[in-house]
């Protein structure tokens, strides 16, 4: 269970995350949505101890993230941030293998190798596994980073905008892969998403943020209603039912 208690983050005079108290479901896919600057990424970074909290507490399975030893947390929770300006010339396979570091301490076993090959296969990276990161397109690199984080094989997988720079085919494949991780492996996947329709079609639970606070929590069906979305985005958004899924249309 990931639990945030009265979590705030302040940059100078601005409160970016304002006294958020939140419990995330133990399993399934949870999406965090909301307008720019709502504090989604900041909250995710604080939950994953990448960013210090200005006040409040974050507990992961009862462990305070600011005090738990980093390696213990690294076997329980994995995080991928939004902009990953990695300049190292690592091959895709080397990068993904580093995802096993919390388990293998740099000496991958046969079991670790199997995890690596599995993650490469699931994200369609086998043909480019021997290539260096700086020779890949943005989308290929993004898939390699997600493969690394999945290879870490943690119960909690936190991804900040995992669909960044992916084309439609790969975005759908990515969401299916995350759905599979939640369904067959019982993981807790937490995503920051900008595309409402991906959140609607692939999540079990949605958290909407606005101006540093949680503005809404519930199922995608409860979220995908014009009045709820208007409260979050200040925008009239039509909802259409297509094949049992609620699809938002907001291009007008």
């Amino acid at each position: 269970m990931i639990e945030a208690r009265n979590v705030s983050r302040r940059y100078g005079d601005t409160l970016v995350v304002d006294d958020v108290t939140l419990k995330l479901p133990e399993r399934g896919v949870t999406s965090i949505i909301g307008p720019n600057g709502a504090g989604k990424s900041t909250l995710l970074s604080m939950v994953s101890r990448l960013l210090p909290l200005s006040s409040g507490t974050v507990l992961v399975d009862g462990m305070d993230v600011t005090r738990t030893p980093g390696d213990a947390l690294a076997r329980r929770l994995a995080i991928l941030r939004q902009d990953n300006a990695v300049t190292s010339r690592l091959t895709v396979r080397d990068l993904v293998t580093f995802g096993r570091y919390p388990h293998s301490r740099g000496r991958p076993t046969v079991e670790d190798r199997a995890f690596v090959e599995g993650a490469l296969a699931h994200l369609g990276l086998e043909p480019i596994a021997h290539r260096f990161l700086d020779e890949l397109s943005g989308g290929q690199r993004q898939r390699a980073f997600v493969a690394m984080v999945l290879c870490q094989d943690t119960h909690y997988v936190l991804l900040d905008e995992p669909l960044n720079s992916l084309d439609m085919k790969h975005a759908v494949a990515m969401m299916k892969e995350l759905r599979r991780a939640a369904d067959t492996l019982g993981k807790c996947v937490v995503l920051v998403l900008h595309d409402l329709n991906y959140a609607s079609c692939y999540s079990d639970h949605v958290v909407a943020m606005r101006a540093g606070k949680v503005a809404f929590q519930g199922t995608p069906e409860e979220l995908m209603r014009p009045d709820v979305l208007r409260g979050i985005y200040d925008l009239d958004i039509d909802i259409h039912l297509l094949d049992g899924k609620r699809i938002a249309v907001h291009y007008r």
Binding site: S48, R49, L50, P69, G70, D71, A72, L73, A74, R75, A78, I79, L80, R81, N84, A85, V86, T87, S88, R89, L90, T91, D94, F98, G99, Y101, P102, G106, I128, H130, R131, F132, D134, E135, L136, S137, G138, G139, Q140, V149, Q152, S165, L166, D167, H170
Partner: protein, 344 residues
């Protein structure tokens, strides 16, 4: 780093990429052999005549044996040890600063070590070499830490701002050193450690470099940590490692290696810059794989520069620092033009 749209066609296979660690091992072996040949040549080149013939009949040629044992072997070992450790120190710096254009001699590390040596010369001239080097290491650790601290404060750091910051910082240390050396009439002594020169290396005067070698081996043992740190702070934390801890460890290794080299043979620029960049092109940046390459090629580079310095104007010598500066800067310019798009 170039940005490409997600649906652009995959890049062509680069010609210089090697398939993997296994395939690059025989090449590493060949490179190691080449360094051994260079080391053998280094034993035989010099003003005093030393040849294999003379050495195989030691009874009549005591002088050749003496030259070999007292001067040539120590000099060659010093070249190999200094080259290996400086190149690996450069690699570590580049990973810690996450920038390909830094090395101990462009980031204030060597300059602050030099300031430390001057301080020792002024305040405690009689202390043993080990203590001198320790003080220099302390100074260079502080100088390099200051460099990394300034880097953290610069919000939008472009690939080229980072080395400029290092050069500015180094120039400030250098100016202070020169000022005090001038005031205390020590400009002559300053030359001893600002210009890298192996001509004065004799048995009993270089052994501290083995310490630098031990530090290089230590760097290899913890190579994975440096690779992880090179991916950035968020990745390091995510994988359960302490980024400040790795930086402190790397800093200590780099500062001690630099201090030892500056105190024993003087400054040799560009090795830490050129060698890791060349190796990165061939085997990439996984330190577990690249450190052996960097060490072997660093040794080879310094050997070549020193041999060239000995041969060009026989019987005089050009200091290795000068040769390395000329060769290294040309090589580095070539690298800059060649791989500008993956500079930072």
């Amino acid at each position: 780093m170039s940005t490409r749209s997600p649906d652009s066609p995959p890049l062509p296979e680069p010609a210089f990429a090697l398939p993997g660690p296994v395939a690059s091992l025989p090449l590493l072996f060949v490179a190691g052999l080449a360094v051994l040949v260079l080391a053998g040549a280094s034993l035989l080149i010099g003003v005093s005549h030393v040849s294999w013939d003379a050495l195989l009949a030691p009874a009549e040629n005591q002088r050749a044996v003496q030259v070999l044992v007292i001067s040539r072997v120590p000099r060659t070992l010093a070249l190999v040890l200094a080259g290996m450790s400086l190149a690996v120190a450069g690699l570590i710096m580049q990973m810690l600063a996450r920038n390909r254009f830094v090395e101990p001699f462009t980031a204030g590390t060597a300059e602050s070590a030099s300031l430390g040596l001057l301080a020792v010369t002024i305040f405690a001239p009689g202390i043993p070499i080990l203590a001198r080097t320790a003080v220099a290491a302390g100074f260079s650790m502080a100088g390099t830490a200051l460099f990394l601290l300034i880097l953290r404060r610069i919000p939008l750091r472009s690939a080229l701002v980072v080395p400029v910051v290092g050069l500015v910082l180094g120039a400030i240390f250098d100016a202070a050193t020169t000022f005090f050396a001038y005031r205390f009439s020590l400009l002559q002594s300053l030359m001893a450690w600002t210009t890298g020169d192996f001509s004065s290396v004799l048995r009993g005067r270089y052994e501290l470099l083995w310490g630098a070698f031990v530090l290089t081996v230590l760097a290899y043992v913890v190579a994975d940590r440096f690779t992880v740190a090179g991916m950035g702070e968020a990745f390091t934390t995510n994988l359960g490692l302490s980024h400040p801890g790795i930086v402190a460890l790397g800093l200590a290794i780099v500062a001690m290696v630099t201090a030892v080299v500056v105190a024993t043979v003087g400054m040799i620029p560009f090795i830490g810059l050129v060698v890791p960049n060349v190796v990165s092109l061939i085997v990439g940046d996984n330190a577990r794989r690249s450190i052996p390459w960097v060490a072997v090629m660093g040794a080879g580079f310094v050997l070549l520069c020193d041999i060239a310095g000995r041969v060009v104007r026989q019987p005089y010598e050009i200091p290795v620092g000068t040769v390395a500066g000329v060769v290294g800067s040309l090589l580095f310019l070539h690298l800059l033009f060649r791989r500008d798009d993956r500079a930072g």
